[in-house]
Amino acid sequence: MRRPWIGLVLAAALLVLLDAGLPHVLNPYYLTILTRIGVAVLAAVSLQLINGFTGQFSIGHAGFMAVGAYVSAALSVYLGAGWLVALGAVLPVPLARALYFPVPLVAGGLAAALAGLGVGIPALRLRGDYLAIATLGFGEIIRIAILNVDAVGGARGFSLTSAAQPAADLRYDGLGAIYAVVALSVLVIARLVYSTGGLAFRAVREDETAAESVGVATTRVKVEAFVVSSFFAGVAGALFAHSEGYVHTNSFAFLRSFEIVVFVVLGGLGSISGAILAATVLTAAPEVLRGLGEWRMILYSLLLIVTMILRPQGLMGQRELGPLRWLATRPRQRHAAA
């Protein structure tokens, strides 16, 4: 536990190496589920920053994922395909792909962050539930807007294939790389909240008036949390688009936003580990329970109800596990342990 990020980086490198071999050992069905878990984890942890740590209530996270998914997909289809082919001509193909794919992820993230700024500034200046209303509205507006843009397929959905560069493979489903992105994103969020400066997020959650009185610029802190949260939702959307190779607005309907809120609440508001756990279990559960036919959704609902009765504060409350727990400890104790 000396330096958890070294472990994380090593794990990521290992996973990237595994990418070459994984498709030969795991059947594509499991790969798809594991990918979706990665995307769900990133969506959940990013929402945790705003809902769990900053105490605001956003219920339109899928809208920001949609922005990330569609902006990154459009970038790849209309520009990226050409770049990828050009890169592939001078570099070995895996290297060209490794260099290219971070670009749509960052672009998707930035686009979503920009959208987050636009929604967040007006909604977060006011106290109360304006953010919930604004994010809910935003999620629906963005979905309907996309349905009416023919350049991204409208109601047909948008396939990541380029007419101009049919040879360019715009799908990227390397599980290792995907998990490396997820792990890095989680690390960024964890370091942000679990630093002395990051206590401002939790101070705002606990008591806005008191936070202001000790010098916390609460509106700025809330907007900051919301923009960072939106950025990583956008990255999650971009990961989703590129791993599936196809996007449709149905993937970003209100139900998806609601599901992410469930991850965060069930995992424990204010616990990154909890969000990871809940996103993983609840994404895997419907698949694991598939054999049960129509009993599946009933069992899924029961699971939710029982958990909320037994643990109203969520699975983890505000506690963390493993390396995240280490990040969350007091600076001096962390130093003493290192």
């Binding site: 960024v188 936070a211 009185s213 600076p331 130093h335």
Partner: protein, 256 residues
């Protein structure tokens, strides 16, 4: 030159005038009391000084700068800190985290906390050290890792003071710090308040209901009733002021 100078401050809530034409000032290093019956406008005055409400009219100057209507976090940065009448701690954070949050509020550094370059860990430790020292000086070092809402009442009040001091104020506003305390706790609090002025070199304004509590503690007492200042001066003078006795007896029979 007073540190805080309020002139003709009026605060209205709809038709209700909570503070009416108040003049009030605090000299550097002073320890003054603001007393008065329920609803006199004491807390409202604090809320204006700390930016929670804007004045309806009148001026509030701190260190010669007008601060009326400035946002609370900026006022804190100017050097005014406070506690709240109905304790407002960061309840699910530990005592230490409460103070650390205040220590760091003015110097946040999102990106640096993510990248964590050289010196980051030392800086974090130094901030924690400062927070711990404050806890120690307020006798709270044992409960550093206890959640704020698990602390007994008296310790919660002291933690709120520690958190306020963490912002390195020049003026500290204490809103009924003695409320809900038993006589021996009150006595200890009086000692603490006097000590804070000496050790932290901070000017203090203290709200209380009770003249007796502030009697041998403060240099000066200002008495508010129905939003107006009805008396001001050294404690022994204010205590005998007929208007003050009248205000207290006329309201709810609390003795002055």
């Amino acid at each position: 030159m007073p540190l805080l100078e309020i002139r003709g401050l009026t605060v209205r809530f709809g038709g209700l005038t909570a503070v009416a034409g108040l003049d009030f000032s605090v000299e550097p290093g002073a320890l003054v009391a603001l007393i008065g019956p329920n609803g006199a406008g004491k807390t409202t005055a604090f809320n204006v000084i700390t930016g929670i409400y804007a004045p309806s009219s009148g001026s509030v100057r701190f260190d010669r700068k007008e601060i009326g209507g400035v946002s609370p976090h900026r006022i804190c940065a100017h050097g005014i800190a406070r506690t709240f009448q109905n304790i407002r701690l960061f309840r699910s954070l530990t005592a230490l985290e409460n103070v650390r949050a205040a220590v760091a509020a003015a110097q946040r550094s999102g990106l640096r906390d993510v990248v964590r370059g050289p010196g980051w860990s030392q800086r974090e430790q130094a901030l924690e050290e400062r927070a711990l020292e404050l806890l120690t000086r307020l006798g709270l070092e044992r409960v550093a890792d206890t959640k704020a809402d698990a602390l007994p009442y008296g310790e919660q009040r002291r933690l709120e003071i520690a958190r306020a001091l963490a912002t390195q104020p020049r003026l500290l506003l204490l809103d009924e710090p003695a409320a809900g305390m038993n006589p021996s706790e009150k006595e200890a609090l009086r000692g603490l308040v006097a000590r804070l002025r000496e050790e932290f070199g901070v000017s203090i304004v203290l709200i209380d209901h009770d003249v007796a509590f502030v009697m041998n503690l403060c240099d000066r007492i200002s008495v508010l009733d129905h939003g107006e200042k009805i008396a001001e001066g050294p404690p022994e003078v204010v205590r005998r002021d007929p208007q003050v006795i009248e205000a207290y007896l006329g309201n709810n029979g609390e003795s002055a």
